[in-house]
């Protein structure tokens, strides 16, 4: 292996990247756009659920209850309906996800019988949101009935017991606010880097076959490993710039707390970048057309990263077989590493297992990608 040849290829590739402003712009804008699209698009928090209310009672008590809904940060009062038909219209049209109907006679029942019902209508098309919304609504109503009970006891002059026998003091670590964006955004960073990294290198060899420059290249004494290292070097730098953009957005724009250290982040990011660049290169070597290579690289990185990296679906809830498959997804390790670095401030030694796995992955891919390149035309 001659450094001179690697440098020659790296310099040539760099000049070509710099002379192609359109591709360069795409390489730098793509991660920016994807961060915003995916960062906002993937949000598992259920907040500001559009709410429709129908108050058939229309007195102080019913208004009290409904005001609590309006005040909750989980619900936004979207519509005060005048009839049940109007409620149905709002839910059917999808304008409201949930509706509360306070029936006539609500207050009287509450006072006379000590128990009354309200109707909760939930749009179940999105079962996840529906479950969460119903639970939130239930807790709003529970808090209200607790107070009603308390007032009733006070009114009768009874002893007020303010002590709850057993109370849970819940303390959430690492993501104190239970903001889903805190663990989603590091996953988005991994996803964007996987897509962009493989895209960067997926064209590099295919382009030379299409333009006819590869025929001359393979007639020279250059070795497959020299070619690969030279080719990947400028994209590695470009990939690090892209990683910088993604990580800066995660901290600066999406306000994900960063508890780790920059050297740990740099080291692990470089490792993951090597893996995804090699995936793109491997595809480019195997498929000698630019369009085909770009498509395959996109599918090979986006699908496994989205579905199997633990970024959107928790791995421990997957079927056993699928869990085993996730070990083959490089992003799985990087997602684990990024979450740990961002939220826990994990160090290299604490991340030894995923880092080792990612290193092994990178080595295997470097060897495979270099060997896939054949210096013959047949």
């Amino acid at each position: 292996m001659k450094i001179r040849r690697i440098v020659a290829i790296g310099r040539k590739e760099t000049l070509q990247v710099l002379r192609d402003p359109r591709s360069l712009t795409i390489a730098l804008l793509l991660p920016l756009m994807q961060m915003f699209m995916l960062g906002y698009g993937v949000n598992l928090d259920v907040k500001h659920i559009p709410l429709c209310v129908l108050d058939q009672e229309g007195n102080q008590r019913s208004q009290d209850l409904l005001k609590r809904f309006a005040a909750s940060r989980y619900f936004d009062l979207y519509k005060v309906a005048a009839s049940i038909a109007e409620v149905r219209h709002e839910i059917d049209g999808g304008a409201c996800r949930i509706a509360i109907v306070v029936p006539a006679g609500f207050s009287r029942k509450l006072v006379d019988q000590g128990a009354a019902t309200v109707q909760l209508l939930v749009d179940g098309t999105d079962s996840n949101t529906a479950t969460i919304a119903a639970a939130y609504a239930g807790s709003v109503v529970a808090a209200y009935s607790g107070e009603v009970q308390l007032q009733a006891i006070q009114r009768r002059g009874g002893q007020i017991q303010t002590l709850t026998p057993v109370a849970v003091q819940a303390r959430v670590w690492f993501n104190e606010d239970l903001e889903s964006s805190y663990f989603i955004i590091p996953g988005v960073v991994a996803l964007v880097m996987a897509i962009v990294g493989a895209q960067l290198t997926s064209l590099t060899i295919a382009r030379e076959w299409e333009r006819g420059t590869m025929e001359l290249m393979v007639s020279t004494p250059v070795t497959p490993m020299e070619l690969m290292l030279g080719k990947l070097s400028p994209y590695f730098v470009l990939g690090l710039v892209d990683a910088g953009i993604c990580l800066a957005l995660a901290v600066g724009w999406f306000e994900v707390p960063f508890h780790g250290t920059l050297p740990t982040l740099f080291f692990t990011t470089s490792l993951f970048l090597s893996v995804v660049l090699c995936i793109g290169y491997y595809v480019s070597v195997s498929i000698r057309s630019q369009v085909g290579a770009s498509q395959v690289a996109l599918i090979l990185t986006m699908l496994p990263t989205t579905l199997l990296s633990g970024f959107s679906f928790p791995i421990d809830q997957m079927p056993a077989l699928v869990q085993d498959i996730t070990y083959l997804v490089s992003a799985r390790y990087y997602v684990t590493i990024l979450k740990a670095i961002f939220l826990k401030g994990a160090t290299v030694s604490e991340l030894a297992v995923p880092i080792f796995s990612l290193t092994a992955y990178a080595i295997v891919l470097v060897v495979l990608a270099a060997r896939a390149f054949r210096k013959t035309l047949d």
Binding site: R4, A8, I9, G212, E215, L216, V218, S219, T220, D378
Partner: protein, 321 residues
Amino acid sequence: MMAAQSAPAIVVDKLGKRFGTFSALDAVSFDVRRGEIMGFLGPNGAGKSTLIRVLCGLLRPSSGRAVVSGIDITQDPEAVRKRIGYMSQKFSLYSDLSVVENLRFFGGIYGVCPGAINERIRFAVDMAGLQGRETSLVSTLAGGWKQRLALGCAILHKPDVLFLDEPTSGVDPSSRRRFWTLIHELSAGGVSVLVSTHYMDEAEYCMRIAMMAAGRLVALGTPRELRQQSIGGELLELECANIGAAMDLVAKIPGVHDVAVFGDALHLLVDDGAETARAACALLAEHGLPGASARQIAPSMEDMFVHLVRTARAQGAAAGT
């Protein structure tokens, strides 16, 4: 060193290359001496490019053996690659790089040491006549300039052997002449050149010519030797009015094997020149085409080529049945 100089630069022995059932090269054998310019002529699909690609190590031979610069191409293709320069049929430099950037890249790839690279680049620029265009992007160069730059890139590492696959296709005549002058300069410096072309006139620039048809070597010799070789009879040039009508008439004369149009005359391949000349003129006069004149001429390279290709096709057809 003396032994190395006297040894042939290329030895090809019964080299064959098959693509599936198609035989692109069929038991081709020849030698190229050091400093020799060997031209390969043949129609498209004759196997010229395949031969060059096999010798450059781009394709693996299916049978036979080839030694380039003393090294067996199947045993150590990488060592062969260090000693050869290659110009592919399709222009394959980087259009988005400048002249010097391309040269520097190939210098690096061929492993020219950093101390010598600038001197070699200057040599290549001077040789190719690219002074003043060093920083121009290759995409802005005209065809002839690109061709000379490609040659410059191929000789940076002082190769023993140059393989040029139709290097002058699509280049204007004066650029072609200039290109051939460069090749002769390189040859004088001891570089062996194997060049393919389908321009007949370029064959005259070569020291020896190999004619290929249907994957086989059908003739090999100096341009003079080839022209003197039998083309299967004598050649008559017939000048007359209405050559279209005349062509049909003379083709029926016994002893005429072939008739072809050459400019405003007909070339006839015949057994006996003097006899057929008289018969043809008489026949034409009989059919209202008087004033025809026929004379015996020496066959040109093109006549030779047409004859060889036709013979090879006939043999191939005979072998096929």
